[in-house]
């Protein structure tokens, strides 16, 4: 195999030195690569152009009222404020539940746990968990957060939804954090131990600061994954129709029924009056895109802020 792979360049070199023909295999390969890029960009462009062109009239006609209105059976009065609120609360719950638990699990597995069969088994299982379909997490959330812990979470509430999504992204947070911890050069740790630092000191002062950019990027990307999920929310019981909260305070609303941006997209796409709700669906997609894009931009900012070269 090694002989064959060196033989090709040798032929190529000889040919090009002799002025014979071009490296056509290389050219085909390059062409295929370019084609892949074009196809990827084409689909992205078609999707964005379609969504934005259909959403534009909504934003020009409705303006801010689309963002500040509640759900309604009439397309002209419908808006996404309840979805924005739900998605915002879900994001906060994911940040305060999944991030610390996930990052600390990763630190333990990478820095503290002995490298035994058991540790490897746990790591492999966490990887598998990241591949479990999201609707399965929805069923878990329904059984645990809605039914078992119903008295604490308020049943089919935004808290139950947020906790479900936090559990959903937990494996992703752990994996990305573990990857960034593993990328920290071993020499750095050895240098720390060499000057007599304890494991805690090495982890705190050397490993974590150096892994921070990667950890932050990974975790914030997992947050945008959580915000885009619909299936678990359907199972947990996000409202599919109309809801009003009456006199409930913001705290009470956390324990009441909820909806989120992807749920709104899903429901509007099912509305019978597609001539009216079609553009609204596109507009809600744009809002969801903007929210996730701004979260990703925030992740990049954080990474640049903390990035260091060793």
């Amino acid at each position: 195999m090694a002989g064959a792979s060196t033989a090709v360049p040798a032929v190529v070199v000889r040919r090009s030195l002799a002025g014979q023909g071009a490296d056509w295999r290389g050219l085909i390969f390059q062409g295929l690569l370019l084609l892949s890029v074009v196809i990827t960009l084409l689909f992205l462009f078609i999707l964005l152009a379609d969504v934005f062109s259909r959403a534009l009239p909504v934003f020009t006609e409705r303006g801010g009222s689309f963002l500040s209105s509640s759900l309604s059976s009439s397309a002209a009065r419908s808006g996404v404020i309840q979805g924005l609120f739900g998605s915002f609360v879900i994001a906060i719950i994911v940040v305060i539940v999944a991030f610390p638990i996930g990052i600390m699990t990763a630190i333990y597995l990478e820095e503290y746990a002995p490298d035994t069969r058991l540790t490897q088994l746990i790591s492999i299982n966490i990887r598998n968990l990241a591949g479990v379909p999201s609707v399965v997490y929805g069923l878990l959330g329904l059984a645990v957060f809605v039914q078992l812990l119903g008295p604490l979470t308020g049943g089919r509430s935004v808290i139950a939804g947020g906790l479900t999504l936090a559990v959903l992204v937990l494996p992703i947070v752990i994996i990305t954090s573990a990857e960034s911890l593993r990328a920290v050069p071993q020499a750095l740790r050895e240098a720390g131990y060499g000057i007599g630092a304890s494991r805690w000191q090495v982890t705190r002062s050397l490993v974590l600061p150096s892994a921070a950019p990667g950890i932050l990027t990974g975790t914030v990307l997992s947050l945008s994954r959580a915000l885009g999920e619909t299936a678990p929310l359907i199972v947990v019981g996000a409202v599919s129709g109309y809801f009003s909260t009456g006199n409930a305070s913001t705290v009470d609303q956390l324990f009441g029924r909820f909806t989120a941006l992807p749920m709104i997209v899903f429901n509007w796409a099912r509305e019978p009056q597609q001539s009216a709700f079609g553009p609204l669906t596109a507009a809600a997609i744009v809002v969801l895109l903007l929210v996730t894009l701004s979260i990703n931009a925030f992740a990049i900012l954080l990474r640049n802020r903390f990035e260091k070269n060793w």
Binding site: I96, V97, P100, L208, D252, G256
Partner: protein, 335 residues
């Protein structure tokens, strides 16, 4: 530099953990969250737009009442209703015996109120010029339990004629798209169109199993418009919304061909029409004033009529609505 970053990181972590514990301790404090007046509605996705529009108007006058309207389907709605989880169950058919039994077992009594009528439209593609009107016998021969395997309209003619139909069915490919078994629209169609014929012939009251089914009405419309000689059925409201891509076929229920229109559906002339209901939990009426006020408003003079101008269903005949009102008044007096 390292020191300052890592202080910040730890401050962040500690803050997160603190918020977490604070969060975990609040539920106890607000365990009485349900104290503000609330009405919880679930059930048929067909009735959902009506209950939604009524809820919206009700909230304009009573902003203090929290109302939730869901639409998982009539059957799922009754399951929640008979478990005592909802105050009102929307239904696109009358409650079934086994559902009544489940409610009784759980000790839940209810009031049944008719609120509107929905027609079911039989559809084909706008490109299909071969079919103008179908009888129940034709529909049974095309979609009924004995039609399994047929993929040409003409192949159904023999059975249709045996059942007394004289319709000329075209020699064209037959592709069927309709709602799935979980849907109230499926139940109503099978019961209204196939009920008598299936009983006579000793067949199961069902459709053929080999057709494209979807729970999403827009997907059904897409399926029907996607093939030039398609056949399918869907709620009248959906059909009217999509008149550009699908065509409604007139239906003969034994008294001549009738086109579905709001008038023919309301008068009962159009043969495939069903009543839409709301079921109200009696025990919850007693303890929840907001629920009573909401249903009062639902049935108040002019409310449903004005809602049905926006939501494309057909109003009940005046006497039927009057019946619903007196049933409701009776239920209130009975408490």
């Amino acid at each position: 530099m390292i020191q300052s970053i890592n202080r910040r990181l730890w401050a962040l972590l500690i803050a997160a953990v603190l918020t977490l514990t604070a969060c975990a301790s609040t539920p106890g404090a607000s365990a009485t969250a349900g104290s503000s007046p609330s009405v919880n509605i679930s059930g048929s996705s067909t009735v959902q737009p009506i209950s939604e529009a009524v809820a919206e108007r009700f909230n304009e006058d009573n902003p203090g009442t929290a109302i939730t309207v869901d639409g998982p389907g009539t059957g799922d709605g009754f399951e929640l209703f008979c478990a005592g989880e909802t105050d009102i169950s929307d239904a696109s058919r009358a409650i079934k015996e086994e559902e009544t039994a489940a409610c009784q077992e759980a000790g839940i009594e209810y009031v049944e109120l008719k609120v509107a009528i929905d027609g079911l439209s039989v559809l084909t593609s706008t490109e299909n010029t071969g079919v103008e009107c179908l009888t129940f016998a034709d529909l049974y021969a095309l979609i009924g339990p004995e039609s399994t395997g047929l993929n040409n309209w003409n192949d159904a003619e023999a059975l249709a004629q045996e059942l007394g139909s004289t319709t000329d069915l075209p020699d064209a490919e037959l592709s069927i798209t309709g709602p799935g078994e979980e849907s109230g629209t499926y139940d109503s169609f099978v019961e209204l169109v196939f009920g008598d014929i299936a009983e006579e012939r000793g067949q199961e009251e069902a459709t053929r199993p080999d057709y494209t089914s979807s729970a999403n009405d827009n997907a059904i419309i897409e399926g029907i418009s996607g093939s030039p000689t398609s056949l399918g059925w869907v709620g009248f409201a959906f059909a009217e919304e999509n008149a550009e891509v699908v065509r409604e076929i007139a239906v003969d229920g034994g008294e001549g061909c009738v086109e579905p229109t709001p008038e023919t559906i309301s008068s009962g002339e159009y043969p495939i029409a069903r009543d839409l209901y709301i079921y109200v939990n009696k025990a919850k009426m007693a303890e929840n004033d907001a629920l009573v006020a909401y249903v009062d408003y639902y049935l108040a003079e002019g409310v449903i009529d004005s809602v049905l101008e926006e939501v494309p269903y057909v109003p009940l005949a005046d006497e039927t609505l009057e019946e619903s009102r007196s049933t409701w008044e009776g239920a209130k007096a009975g408490e």
